[in-house]
C-alpha cells in the first residue's frame, strides 16, 4: 500500500495536509470512517450526528415542498395568473433554489474555513441551519442580504463559540433577526410576502399588498381575518407568509418524524403550544384580542418555531423538567408579543431567542433543585 511508504497528499506529513478538515468532511460524507474504538465501550451505536441532522432535514421537507407550491399559489392568486399546480410548484421551486444555494454555499464555506482554522472535523450542524434559513425569510429577500445574514449568524453566533454544540442561540433564527433589524423594509410589512420579483419582469405589476393573517388580525381583529382567510385556509397553509411556516399539516408531518425518531423533544413542542394557547385565551377573555386562542397556533411562525426552532437540542433547555418550562415560556412569550405589542405582530422569533438566552438559567434552577432534593432525601433516609 502506498500509505505505508510515504504519507498521502492529504495525510499527516503530506503536502496538502492543511486541507485535511475539508477533505475529511467530503470523505466521511461519502463513507463512514474506518475508525475503531480506542477507549471505552468497544462497540458503538450506528447513530452519528450526520444521521441526526439529516433526520431534521427530512422532517423539514414536507414544509419546504408545500412552501414552494404556496409561493407559486400566492403569486398566481395575487397577480391573477392562470397557473396550474405544476406551474405554481415549479415557480416556487425555482424561486427558492437560489435561496438554498446562497444559504448553503455561504454557510458551508464559513463552516469549512472555521473547521480548517480549528483543525477539527467539519460539523454537520449547518445541514439543518442552511435548510431552515430559506424557509423562514420572505421569498423575495435579496440574495446579498441573505448572504450577509448567513455570514453574520454563522460567524458570530456559531463559530466564535466553537461551532455546533457550543452556540447559545439558534443560528437560523439569528440570521432572520439580523435581516429583520437591519433591513426591516424587506422583512416586514404587507408587501414582502408574495413573490413578485420574476413576475414583474414578465408583466407590469405594482407591489400588491398581501398582508399575512397575523397582520390582518392585528389591525382588524377576527372579523377582518375571517373575511379573508378561513381557519382551514390557515390550517392547510394557503396564506402568505415565510415559505416554510404556513402549512400546519406539513409542519405536523415534520413534528411526527422528529418525535418518532427522538431527535426533537415532544415536551418542548407540547408545552410551547400549551403556553401559546393559555396566553391566547387570557388575551381573549382579557379583551386584548377577539381572536380565539387556537388561531394563534395556525397563524405566522408559531407552530414552525415550536416544532423546528425551539427544539434545537443545542440551544434549548437540557434537562427534561427544564424543557417543559422552556417550551411553555417560548409559546407564552410569543403570544404576549403578538397581543400586547403595537408595532410588531410576530413574536415567535424573539421569544425563542430570548428563551435560548434563558435556557441555561432554567437548567441551572432545575439542576440545583434536584441537587438539593437529593441531599435532603439522603439526610432523611
Amino acid at each position: 500500500m502506498a500509505d505505508e511508504k510515504k504519507p498521502g497528499l492529504f495525510e499527516e506529513g503530506g503536502k496538502l495536509y492543511w486541507l485535511h478538515s475539508t477533505i475529511d468532511a467530503f470523505d466521511t460524507f461519502l463513507r463512514v470512517p474506518g475508525t475503531v474504538t480506542a477507549k471505552g465501550a468497544h462497540v458503538r451505536d450506528g447513530i452519528d450526528l450526520k444521521r441526526v441532522m439529516i433526520m431534521v432535514v427530512i422532517a423539514l421537507v414536507p414544509a419546504a415542498l408545500f412552501g414552494m407550491y404556496n409561493v407559486g399559489l400566492q403569486t398566481s392568486l395575487t397577480y391573477g395568473l392562470d397557473w396550474n399546480f405544476w406551474h405554481m410548484f415549479w415557480y416556487g421551486l425555482l424561486r427558492m433554489l437560489p435561496l438554498f444555494v446562497v444559504s448553503y454555499v455561504v454557510g458551508l464555506v464559513i463552516e469549512f474555513g472555521s473547521s480548517q482554522i480549528r483543525g477539527e472535523e467539519v460539523n454537520e450542524g449547518y445541514l439543518v441551519t442552511g435548510f431552515l434559513i430559506p424557509l423562514i425569510v420572505p421569498v423575495d429577500v435579496p440574495l446579498w442580504m441573505l448572504a450577509l445574514a448567513v455570514a453574520f449568524s454563522v460567524i458570530f453566533v456559531k463559530e466564535v463559540f466553537g461551532g455546533t454544540g457550543m452556540n447559545i442561540w439558534n443560528p437560523a433564527l439569528v440570521a432572520r433577526a439580523f435581516l429583520f433589524f437591519s433591513y426591516p423594509s424587506s422583512m416586514s410589512g404587507s408587501s414582502v410576502w408574495v413573490s413578485k420579483t420574476w413576475v414583474s419582469a414578465l408583466k407590469d405589476v405594482d407591489a400588491v399588498s398581501a398582508a399575512t393573517p397575523l397582520a390582518i388580525a392585528h389591525d382588524g381583529g377576527v372579523s377582518a381575518l375571517t373575511s379573508q382567510y378561513s381557519f382551514m385556509d390557515m390550517f392547510y397553509g394557503f396564506i402568505p407568509g415565510s415559505t416554510g411556516e404556513t402549512s400546519v399539516i406539513a409542519i405536523l408531518i415534520g413534528a411526527l418524524i422528529l418525535v418518532w425518531t427522538g431527535v426533537a423533544s415532544w415536551k418542548i413542542m407540547v408545552s410551547s403550544i400549551a403556553g401559546g394557547l393559555l396566553v391566547g385565551w387570557l388575551g381573549q377573555i382579557g379583551g386584548a384580542t377577539d381572536l380565539p386562542c387556537y388561531y394563534q397556533l395556525v397563524m405566522g411562525g408559531f407552530l414552525f418555531g415550536s416544532v423546528f426552532m425551539a427544539t434545537d437540542p443545542v440551544t434549548a433547555a437540557q434537562t427534561e423538567t427544564g424543557k417543559w418550562i422552556y417550551g411553555f415560556l417560548v409559546g407564552a412569550l410569543a403570544v404576549v408579543v403578538r397581543l400586547w405589542n403595537p408595532g410588531y405582530m410576530e413574536g415567535m422569533m424573539l421569544a425563542i431567542l430570548f428563551m435560548n438566552t434563558m435556557a441555561p438559567l432554567i437548567d441551572h434552577c432545575v439542576v440545583t433543585a434536584h441537587v438539593n432534593r437529593r441531599a435532603k432525601k439522603v439526610k432523611t433516609a
Binding site: 480506542a38 471505552g40 462497540v43 447513530i47 425518531t261 427522538g262 437540542p313 427534561e320
Partner: protein, 446 residues
C-alpha cells in the same frame, strides 16, 4: 423477605455470540501471569524473584503504600519470568505451573470477628477483590464501610450467566457472605436477578439483605443498585465484591485453599465456539479459545472490557472473553442509507426498532466522528440513576470538584455510564471522561 428494585431505564445491547451453557474444555494451567495492573491503585513491590517456588496462595507482590495488601499466585509452580514495560513498570510475574497443584494452607477455621476476616482477606490476596466506593479503588483496611454490596448477576452484554457458573457453589458463597458481614454494621446487600428469582440458587443465601432487581443493563451493576438502595454521600464509603470473589473467599474458609478457578464465558460474534471454559486468572487467552485473525480480544464485556490483545492473559476479575471483528472497513453512504440492517442503533433514526429480537454481528467501528455534545436525552435514557449524566460529564471535563460532588461523582464508576459511550451520537468517550474526573477527585481530596 426481600426488597424490590425495578429499573425502567437502560439498554440491552443485542450483540451476537452468547455462550452456550456448557463447559467446552478445562485449561490445564501452563504459564500463568500475575498482573498487578488488574488492581486499581495497587503499587507493586516484588516479593519473589525468578526461580522462586510459590504455592497457590503464596504472596507474589505487596502494595508499596500498604504492605499488608498482597497479590498472591493462583497456581503452585516456579517463577519463570518478570515482565516489565516502559520505565521498568512491572506488568506481570509469570509462574510456570506444576503438574499437580499444591495449595498454601489458610486453615478451615471460620473467622470469628472483623479482624480475623480482614486478616484472611489480606493473607490470601483476596483483599484486592474488595472495591471501595466512591472512586472504585482498593479498599482501606482501616475503614469500616457503611455496607457491603454484592450483585449476583450481570446484565452486561453476553456476560457470564452466574447461575450456570456459580450456581453449584452456594456453600462457598454463603461462607463468604457470612465473613463479609462481620466487616460492616450495615449488613451485606445481595442483589438477585428478579427475572429468575425463584429458580435462582442465590435467593437461598442467608444473612443478607436481599434485593430483587429487574431491568435492562446496567441494572446488574452494583453501582446502580447502591444508588437506589443507599446512595453514597460525601464522607461515606461502601465496599463491593464481585460474587465470583465472594465464592473464592468462601472456598478458602471452607477448605483452607485459595482456588480462583472459574468458568469463563467465551463470547462474541467472531468466537468460533461460544461456550464456557474452565480456567484460572492469568491464563493466556490463546489457551482459552481460538482467536480468529484480526479479532479484538476483550477481557470482560464489550462495554467495559479490557483490550487484552491476542497474546494477553485473563485478568483477576474477568470471567468473560469477548471476540470482536475490528471494524476498519468503510461503508459507503452509511449514515445516509435508509436501512442499515447490519448495524444496530438504539436510536429510532434507524429501523432497528422493527427487529427487536435481532442480534447483531457487531464490530469495533466507531460509526462516526467525534463531535461536541448535541443530544442530551440519550444519556438519561440509559442511566437508571438519580443523576444528570450530561452535567456530571461536563463537570468532569471542566475539572470542577464542587460540581462533580453535587452531580453525583461519589455514586458512579465509569462502568455505570458505559452505555453513554455506546449511545452517544457525538462519539465521546464518556467512561474515560468520568475516570479522569474520579482521578482528579482522588488527587484533590486526598
Amino acid at each position: 423477605m426481600s426488597n424490590h428494585l425495578d429499573l425502567k431505564k437502560g439498554l440491552d445491547i443485542p450483540v451476537k455470540g452468547v455462550a452456550a451453557r456448557e463447559v467446552a474444555k478445562t485449561v490445564k494451567p501452563g504459564t500463568i501471569a500475575v498482573k498487578p495492573t488488574d488492581f486499581k491503585g495497587f503499587l507493586p513491590r516484588l516479593l519473589v524473584k525468578e526461580g522462586d517456588r510459590v504455592l497457590a496462595g503464596s504472596p507474589v507482590m505487596a502494595d508499596k503504600q500498604n504492605p499488608r495488601i498482597l497479590v498472591t499466585s493462583p497456581v503452585s509452580g516456579t517463577v519463570s519470568g518478570i515482565v516489565r514495560g516502559e520505565k521498568r513498570k512491572l506488568l506481570a510475574v509469570l509462574v510456570q505451573a506444576d503438574a499437580g497443584q499444591t495449595y498454601a494452607d489458610f486453615g478451615t477455621k471460620v473467622p470469628a470477628d472483623a479482624d480475623a476476616v480482614k486478616d484472611l482477606l489480606l493473607k490470601t490476596g483476596l483483599w484486592n477483590a474488595l472495591i471501595q466506593r466512591p472512586y472504585g479503588i482498593q479498599a482501606d483496611p482501616d475503614l469500616k464501610p457503611k455496607a457491603i454490596f454484592v450483585s449476583t448477576f450481570s446484565t452486561a452484554p453476553l456476560a457470564a450467566d452466574t447461575e450456570f457458573t456459580l450456581g453449584d457453589r452456594l456453600a462457598d458463597i454463603q461462607a463468604g457472605v457470612n465473613a463479609l458481614g462481620k466487616l460492616t454494621d450495615g449488613g451485606v446487600h445481595l442483589a438477585v436477578n428478579k427475572a429468575v428469582y425463584s429458580s435462582s440458587p442465590f435467593h437461598k443465601v442467608e444473612n443478607v439483605i436481599a434485593h430483587e432487581v429487574s431491568g435492562k443493563h446496567p441494572a446488574g451493576n452494583v453501582g446502580v443498585q447502591i444508588s437506589h438502595i443507599a446512595p453514597i454521600q460525601k464522607g461515606e464509603t461502601v465496599w463491593t465484591m464481585p460474587v465470583l470473589m465472594v465464592a473464592a473467599l468462601g472456598h478458602v474458609i471452607n477448605t483452607g485453599k485459595l482456588d480462583l478457578t472459574r468458568k469463563v464465558a467465551v463470547t462474541g460474534p467472531v468466537a468460533t465456539h461460544p461456550a464456557y471454559v474452565v480456567a484460572l486468572p492469568g491464563t493466556p487467552v490463546k489457551e482459552i479459545t481460538d482467536i480468529p485473525a484480526d479479532a479484538r480480544v476483550i477481557g470482560g464485556d464489550v462495554l467495559t472490557g479490557e483490550n487484552l490483545g491476542a497474546d494477553g492473559c485473563l485478568g483477576f476479575f474477568q470471567d468473560q472473553v469477548t471476540l470482536l471483528h475490528e471494524g476498519t472497513e468503510r461503508e459507503w453512504f452509511g449514515w445516509a442509507k435508509p436501512f442499515r440492517p447490519k448495524v444496530h442503533s438504539s436510536s429510532w433514526c434507524y429501523f432497528s426498532w422493527l427487529t427487536p429480537g435481532k442480534k447483531y454481528d457487531m464490530d469495533t467501528n466507531l460509526h462516526g466522528g467525534p463531535r461536541a455534545f448535541v443530544e442530551t436525552k440519550c444519556f438519561e435514557d440509559v442511566t437508571p440513576m438519580d443523576i444528570f449524566p450530561i452535567y456530571l460529564i461536563k463537570a468532569c471535563l471542566a475539572g470542577d470538584i464542587e460540581k462533580m460532588e453535587k452531580f453525583g461523582i461519589y455514586e458512579v464508576l465509569p462502568e455505570d455510564l458505559a452505555l453513554c459511550d455506546y449511545v452517544d451520537p457525538s462519539k465521546n468517550d464518556i467512561q474515560a471522561i468520568i475516570q479522569k474526573g474520579i482521578d482528579l477527585m482522588i488527587k484533590e481530596m486526598a
